[in-house]
């Protein structure tokens, strides 16, 4: 049903690479709506590998990503950022919940329909040293998605591949080279080209610059920004570096131990964070100025295990301002100010 028709439209659309998709002027619509997403990983043990416990990696998370925006997703390691990124692409199966992309629930798609949907949703991985096949020339790597989806003729695919390499600042002669011949920054650009080759609508960027030296990070960030402008892309940008996220995001979501605790526009979140966890995070951001004296919020203890998260608000054992209610009931994640969501009883 989709295969033939889509292929033909794609050929018609081949020219669209040179056209600029104008920035969205109309009010931004939701491209993706995630409702009550849950992902538990089983922990198996013993001779029979019975499930003895569940890691609650993502627990009842709801949010939206708007057409053409970059949603930053921050949090400490193990808080479920990457799990969300992979679950909404169906790279891992969500335990429950809805992922509505462009009006279709991705969580229940199967077979051909799922494959078709995947053309619109791509991912850029964290480690450019590990995510490219070392024995495949990078041109082949970039073309792989086109081959899988049988886009156009082989010659057209080649054309698209060269075009895409140029979009990320590489040259056509690079296509024959192997990953080891490239620097870290170039490899990450190849990773971007791979994601871009199918001209998706939506890209999950999973820590795309954290493995790079600071001197080339902004080069990759600039490319991501330019491509977003040119192709009207929507990004979910997962990172732990708060300064990088501030730099690239329109809105930012903060996660703690499988829960989303705050979601707001970049300005609101960085200027006036509401959740105590976000405040602690903000106060810990290093600033390269030794003369600056700041008051830091030091949290006691470590992040608890997602195997057995605390009752009530998951942050309450470390929260400097926790009240009795926090250990009893879980605070709802709701709009506390216009377009500013948070989950904290103190904001009720």
């Amino acid at each position: 049903m989709i295969g033939g028709a889509r292929r033909r439209t794609f050929i018609v659309e081949l020219d669209f690479m040179s056209q600029k998709v104008s920035a969205q002027e109309k009010p931004r619509q939701d491209l993706m709506v995630v409702k009550n997403l849950v992902k538990y990983f089983p922990v198996r043990a013993g001779l029979l590998q019975r499930v003895v416990a569940w890691v609650q990696a993502v627990d009842d998370v709801s949010f939206t990503i708007r057409q053409g925006e970059t949603l930053g997703l921050v949090g400490e390691s193990g808080c479920g950022k990457t799990t969300i990124g992979r679950a909404i692409l169906r790279l891992i199966e969500p335990t429950s919940g809805q992922i509505i992309f462009n009006g279709t629930d991705v969580a229940t798609l199967r077979g051909k329909e799922l494959k078709a949907m995947r053309r619109d949703m791509q991912i850029i991985f964290q480690d450019p040293y590990a995510s490219l096949d070392p024995r495949m020339p990078i041109g082949e790597s970039v073309m792989e998605g086109l081959n899988v989806h049988r886009v156009g003729t082989p010659a057209e695919r080649f054309e698209i591949m060269i075009e895409t390499l140029k979009k990320v600042g590489l040259e056509d002669y690079h296509a024959r080279r192997y990953p080891h011949e490239f620097s870290g920054g170039q490899r990450q650009r190849i990773g971007i080209a791979r994601a871009l080759a199918l001209r998706p609508k939506f890209i999950v960027c999973d820590e795309p610059v954290s493995a790079l030296d600071v001197s080339i990070q902004s080069q990759v960030l600039n490319i991501l920004k330019d491509l977003q402008q040119e192709f009207g892309l929507t990004y979910l940008f997962i990172a732990h570096n708060m300064s990088v996220v501030e730099h690239i995001s329109d809105r930012v979501a903060v996660m703690y131990l499988g829960k989303m605790v705050e979601l707001a526009s970049r300005e609101d979140l960085y200027r006036s964070p509401l959740h105590p966890y976000t405040r602690a995070l903000m106060s810990a951001i290093p600033i390269p100025d030794p003369t600056l004296k700041r008051e830091r919020i030091i949290l006691k203890g470590d992040v608890p295990s997602p195997l057995n998260p605390p009752k009530g608000c998951r942050f309450h054992p470390r929260c400097p301002v926790a009240i009795d209610r926090c250990s009893q009931e879980e605070p709802p994640f709701r709009e506390v100010q216009p377009d500013h969501l948070a989950a904290c009883w103190l904001l009720e």
Binding site: S215, S243, R271, P286, P288
Partner: protein, 320 residues
């Protein structure tokens, strides 16, 4: 021991080259710097610029393929490069200088209790009895903020931040004057990073320890640093006081490196440095940064001297 006038550490013309099948890697190529008691110097640079090799050269932790290894390292006034390997092991390592290696949290022995591991350097290098050493370990755990019931736990029972603290406690247990920290927080989360740096600052104040902090994380390093040394392609290109350096670095490389750090609440886009650092094999005789430098001119064909400017040192023709 040291007189009042003698610096804690003085490194002169330190060279460490490695032999490889494709040529000589000039990882550390004529490094000069010094460090006083109760001071912290941060060595900044991109990956592959020779930062970690510098730490290894100071502590004489050398792999087998060493080519050239020369220069002088004075610790408290005495030349430790003249010592034999055994004397160096007995009198310098742990006792004079200890080191927290890169990814230290993953370098603990998984089958030995954390407390025993932290106590071990004291037993071997200070000749104290085991229960005495464990007492010292307990004290150090207090200094770095690890609960003392963790002494009898195994590394896998501790979180990354706690293991990193344990590694720092191990470096402290022999009470050295100088600790070399190689990327102490790069693998840790933001909040844990902040906590570890608070621990280091407290140790510096309470115990008067000096630090050499090797990192590429410019923002975090400014927390602890009294002095800064910027490394590029095996050489130090700029040194100075942290308070002078961070607001206005002199060397074009240092300037561009600082400009590439994304800053909070800034409308300015961070910049990036085009090209990539040179391979440390077959380095040209010119200024090593010249191919990437926006301010290069004819003179850059020659190796620039180190030029003093207002108490700061910079290896660049622009200031000649």
């Amino acid at each position: 021991m040291a007189t009042n006038r003698e610096k804690l550490l003085r490194v002169e013309d330190l060279v460490l080259h490695f032999r490889t099948t494709v040529g000589t890697v000039q990882a550390v190529d004529g490094i000069n710097f010094d460090l006083d008691y109760n001071r912290a110097v941060v060595i900044l640079g991109e990956s592959g610029c020779g930062k970690s090799s510098l730490a290894k050269a100071i502590l004489r932790l050398l792999p087998r393929n060493v080519g050239a290894y020369s220069g002088k390292v004075y610790l408290g006034g005495s030349d430790v490069m003249a010592l034999s390997d055994e004397e160096f092991r007995q009198n310098v390592r742990w006792v004079g200088i200890s080191m927290v290696p890169q990814a230290a949290m993953n370098s603990l022995n998984p089958v030995i209790r954390v407390g025993d591991q932290v106590a071990e350097p004291a037993i071997i290098h200070m000749g104290v009895k085991k229960d005495e050493a464990l007492k010292l370990a307990r004290q150090m755990f207090e200094h770095v903020g690890v609960p003392d019931d963790f002494l009898v736990r195994y590394p896998f029972e501790l979180s990354g931040g706690m293991r990193q603290r344990a590694a720092i406690a191990m470096a402290l247990v022999t009470a050295p004057n100088l600790i070399i920290l190689d990327e102490p927080t790069s693998a840790l989360d933001l909040l844990t990073q902040a906590n570890i740096f608070n621990v280091l600052k407290r140790i510096k104040k309470e115990l008067g320890t000096s630090f050499i902090l090797i990192t590429h994380d410019i923002s975090t390093s400014s927390e602890l640093a009294d002095e800064v040394a910027v490394m590029y392609a095996g050489q130090i290109v700029e040194t100075g006081e942290a308070k002078d350096f961070f607001p206005a670095p002199l060397h074009p490389y240092a300037q561009m490196l600082m400009a590439s750090v994304p800053r909070l609440r800034s409308d300015q886009d961070p910049e990036f440095i085009t090209g990539q650092p040179p391979s440390l094999i077959n380095l040209p005789p010119s200024c090593r940064f010249a191919p990437r430098c926006p301010k290069r001119h004819d003179k850059c064909e020659q190796d620039p001297p180190i030029i003093e400017k207002d108490g700061r040192k910079v290896k660049c023709w622009l200031y000649a």
